[in-house]
Amino acid sequence: MRRSLLFIPANSPAMLQNADVFAADAVIFDLEDAVALSEKDAALDLLDQFLNKFKLNSIEKIVRINQLDSPFSLLDLKLIADERIDTIMLPKATSGNTLSLAKKLDRIEKQKHMTKTIKILPIIESAKSVIEVSMIASSQRVNGLLLGGEDLATDLEVERTEAGHEIFLSRAMLILASKANKIDAIDTPYTDIKNEDGLKKDTKFSKGLGMNARVCIHPNQIDAINEIFSPNKNEIEHAKKIINAYQDSLKTGKGAFSVDGKMIDKPIIERAQKVIEKAEQWNLL
């Protein structure tokens, strides 16, 4: 489970060294868009040496590799795909290249005698990948889906707007595919890094649709995103009441029970369990 994932350009020593200073649930070391073509080799060497030096045990380590059909992606995978990282972020994902990456990781893990399985986090950022999102989500290694709103808007030949109507259907399809496969639905970054009110408003809307997390393109965005995607005190207290009442009902053999005057049934119990699970993971209890 994630709430916030922070992008870090892989060719910036100053930013790499601060990777675990902020409270993001995951860091994404970016070898793709954040690195100029002429610096791809330097970024890869720097990230390789950084990962040798810093273990960052308490945080998920994700690497956004270059597009799978580029000459750089094979070098990225050869050097970086190993026990040091948790997840590969796949740009311009389709069902075909997600499967292809999974097969490459099968081979790499075997060659390197790895004990862990590297997960895949595909970026849904084209009309084709939105159409194929259900197939992409069902791949075994995939443990989340990220919406790439900017590239998607380009592919759709529309302007990105504050209201976000142009990506509404894509957000909804990504959420449905994620929930159907019990993986994280991760929203597109909010690109206006100075507009905190806008970030909060859009992230609350995103959570209301069913998103679980959001990527951050600036450390300033982490706190707001964490707060919005965490259960609040009232939600946690209410969930505790439901779980306690449920446990009492099991002891007394009562099938149906109520909390605060409202009948409680299975989906409500499951939601309460999820709230408690999240609160435990993020030390909110």
């Binding site: 020593p13 060294q17 330097a42 060497d45």
Partner: protein, 83 residues
């Protein structure tokens, strides 16, 4: 003569330039030369030893880079030189 270069003048980084030479020669400029000059040289020498390179000139213009950054920039510069 082939020259390889990697890195930047930004804080926490270093710019490393390499070229062929009759033996190992290292020039270091650093904002922390007093405190870390020797350590920077050790990182460079250790990396060259790892690569079994004995005929190279290395210029390191350091802006407070940690060891891993110095090693990474040196590796990239050497690859760019075509070694």
């Amino acid at each position: 003569m082939k020259i390889g270069s990697a890195g930047t003048f930004e804080s926490n980084d270093c710019l490393i330039t390499v070229k062929k030479h009759k033996k190992i020669k290292i020039d270091i400029k650093s904002i922390v030369i007093e405190q870390f000059g020797e350590q920077i040289e050790q990182v460079i020498r250790a990396t060259l030893k790892e690569l079994k390179i004995e005929n190279i000139y290395v210029a390191c213009n350091d802006k407070g880079a940690l060891d891993y950054t110095i090693k990474a920039r040196l590796l990239t510069a050497i690859k760019r030189m075509g070694e």
